[in-house]
Amino acid sequence: MKETTIYTGGDIITMDDANPQVEAVAVKDGKILAVGDLSAVETTAGPGAKAVNLGGKTLMPSFIDAHGHFMNAPRLITWANVSVPPVGPVESIPNIIRVLEEHVAKWKLASGEWIIGYGYDSKFLAEGRELTRDDLDPHFPNNPIILIHVSNHGCVMNSRGFEFFEITAETPTPEGGVILRKEGSQEPAGLLMEMAFGPVFSQLPQPSEEELLELVKPAQLMYASKGVTTITEGATQAHAMKFLRKAAVQKRLFLDVVSQPVAMGGELYKTFAEYIIVGDDEEPHVIGNPENVFGTYQDRLKLGGIKIVLDGSPQGKTAFWTEPILTPGPAGEENWRGVPLLPPEIVHKTYKSAAERNIPVYAHANGDAAIDMVIEAADAAGITAADDRRNVVVHSNLMRPDQLDHYARLGLLPSFFTVHTFFWGDTHVENLGKERAFFLSPLKSTQEKGIRFTNHNDYSVTPQDPMFMVWTAVHRVSRNGVIIGPDQRVDVWTALKSITIDAAYQYFEEDTKGSFELGKLADMVILSDNPLKVNPMMIRDIVVEETFKEGQSVYQRV
């Protein structure tokens, strides 16, 4: 029998509306045994209970990742972060060199091994120019380097990298691509973009499955270090599903992972082969399969719904809108509205088939036209809020006000993406004008309609950072200091709910997670400061001291 532990001596936030802040919490067998005044909790816990003094730190339910891409983590944690603040530490070319040198030392990279970095962005470098192979070569003569551009549409390489891919002065620049050349010569300078980058990226040497399996634990530790104990793999391809199941069966998961198999392009049949039959006219039929049960954790892995992707991203101008944007499209198009990535026929059939089998649909939809497609499909499938299907519209970033009424009527849950206000808020104003841009991830209006919503980082599109998410939900301040929709800001409590109890609700796990209530799992995080009390501008600086999964400590700050 495991011992009972009482946590007290600091602020305790329960995320329970009925009982928001308490003096003590008792944990037994990985579950919440008692919540309330210290004396009452002590009585319930009985003699012999261990007491943990929080030392003035704040205890609260740990965070639930409402949408992100766990499968990016095992590789990405082995890459060097050459991003600009707040994502990374790089402000100049010497910074990049230092980060890469530290990276080589940390991972003990041998001569000839690839140095891969992410987040490169010349726009914010002190030098005001692109990094070149000549900057890198003197420091790294023996290792090929590829630093992937923050847009994921380009990279910078050193000479060893160009040698590997046989890109030389003779290599022609492909249409739709960029090979930056050295001044006065045809020699590649370092930067490749778009069509010149795609083939390079696809041929980058891949780690073996065994190597990736070994990285599953450190990848979870990255989440735990941010206070997250339920992780989302929000677009799982067929090979990734096999990989995750293998990791689960081998008991490599110590946090919960929710997977949403994705149906897109070539994956439509393959991903679903085990539980979806694709019939005539590409109609996906969802069927159950004992090996892949939806809605139940097996070895900490759960299939939480199916994912479809209706459009691209607003910052990439590939979202699908009803009205044209104010700037040219990605290829210079006029009156650009974007395009849908799925035909409406498929979207309709997906909602109908999934509803018949009680499987939630996670639809990536950023622009209001893509959201219209979701609304029409849910309507056509006869879905109503009373069905309690918890179909999620992932991002719902640039919706129209009238669409919220349909969400309420159809029971569609938005999972918002408020860090957009910081990273791309200024871009959205430029492309869409203030009125449309300011309704980005409209938390307040959604709350006023009585619709529950979640918030996400979309890792690795942005860093896994729940406190930064809360900060953006509360302030909505852009990089340039513009408040992106002042009337859509919410209070800290609401912002916290969207990553705890309401995220648990999204996953039909509100009975076991998301708040401190009797019998729920003791998934908890200790924060350096209380987000409800700290100066709201400082919320982003709150750090995670310790994280618990079902009462067990899984991360402790050094």
Partner: protein, 308 residues
């Protein structure tokens, strides 16, 4: 350096008949070693006796063809193909119903492949409504506009007296494309894949009931003027779908110049040196039967030998 593998892209909206067309190609292919990249195997209906074996993403056919899914993405699939030995004679890609085949065509500049043509299938009954659709209208019109050859499929579903109107509308929607009317994706393989010496035989279409096109050779010793030829190729009658051959161009007397023409798209590229052989132009043309003015084209080509 090995020869570039020709790439054919088949596009068109959901339900237009892309898969039917692919099945038709695989069934009637004779002599080409094709690698067909599809979104999924769900709709591909390969005759069982043709299938040699299936290994995950790949189906090997007895006639030398390979069918792969695009599970690893387009670039990944092309890289895998380039690692194979021998290379296929041709790669055919099925574009998704809401993608722009021209964007895929950009990838044809990757090492190892060259774009042959973009073929777009349109449903004669529904295509006009799809162009007006608030969600997919823009994409469907992009698809039509980007086609080198447009297959106007399912014409049997349109009333006889309505067909010219549909065709006329399509000719305006896709002013640069060659248009070919058919049903069940039933179309001569030469139009889709061109003439190739690797083919064992040349079949005049795959169904005996259709004999809608004709092939014709032009042979000429006198060197052609490049500028005049270019103008002629730009202004060819729309009844001409394909041409392929070696040219004897006046400004490049040392070696052959290869001509590849698919619909409006034509490319001249350097070929082997004449090496003592008598320089001579030889072009095979494919055009619609009855619409194809052989004499007129021959005269126009002859005129390209005279400096203006």
């Amino acid at each position: 350096m090995s020869e570039l593998i020709p790439l054919t892209i088949i596009g068109g909206y959901l339900g237009a008949g892309k898969t039917t067309l692919l099945n038709h190609i695989l069934r009637h292919n004779d002599g080409f070693r094709l690698t067909v990249l599809v979104n999924d195997f769900g709709d591909i209906n390969i005759d069982a006796e043709l299938v040699e074996n299936q290994d995950g993403d790949t189906i090997n056919l007895a006639n030398g063809c390979i069918c792969c899914t695009l599970a690893d993405g387009f670039v990944g699939a092309i890289n895998t193909i380039l690692e194979q030995n021998p290379h296929p004679d041709r790669i055919i890609v099925e574009a998704s119903g809401v993608s722009d085949p021209i964007k895929i065509a950009h990838y044809a500049q990757m090492r190892g492949v060259s774009l042959d043509g973009v073929i777009v299938v349109a449903d004669a009954e529904k295509v006009q409504a799809k162009v007006d659709d608030k969600y997919v209208g823009y994409m469907v019109s992009q698809q039509l506009n980007g086609a080198d050859i447009l297959i106007l499929n399912k014409v049997d579903l349109v009333d006889q007296d309505q067909r010219p109107a549909v065709r006329g509308w399509l000719a305006e929607a896709a002013p640069h494309s060659r248009i070919y009317e058919t049903q069940y994706g039933n179309i001569p393989l030469e139009l889709l894949l061109g003439i190739d010496t690797k083919r064992k035989s040349s079949t005049a279409g795959s169904g005996s009931d259709i004999l809608p096109f004709v092939t014709w050779s032009y042979v000429e010793d006198a060197p052609l003027q490049r500028r005049l030829l270019a103008r002629l190729l730009d202004d060819l009658p729309k009844s001409i779908f394909r041409a392929k051959g070696f040219l004897n161009l006046q400004n490049v007397p040392q070696h052959r110049t290869i001509l590849q023409l698919v619909g409006r798209r034509w490319v001249l590229s350097p070929g082997r040196a004449w090496d003592g052989e008598k320089p001579q132009t030889r072009i095979v043309w494919i055009g619609e039967n009855g619409q194809f003015e052989q004499e007129g084209l021959a005269a126009a080509l002859d005129a390209c030998t005279h400096p203006s």
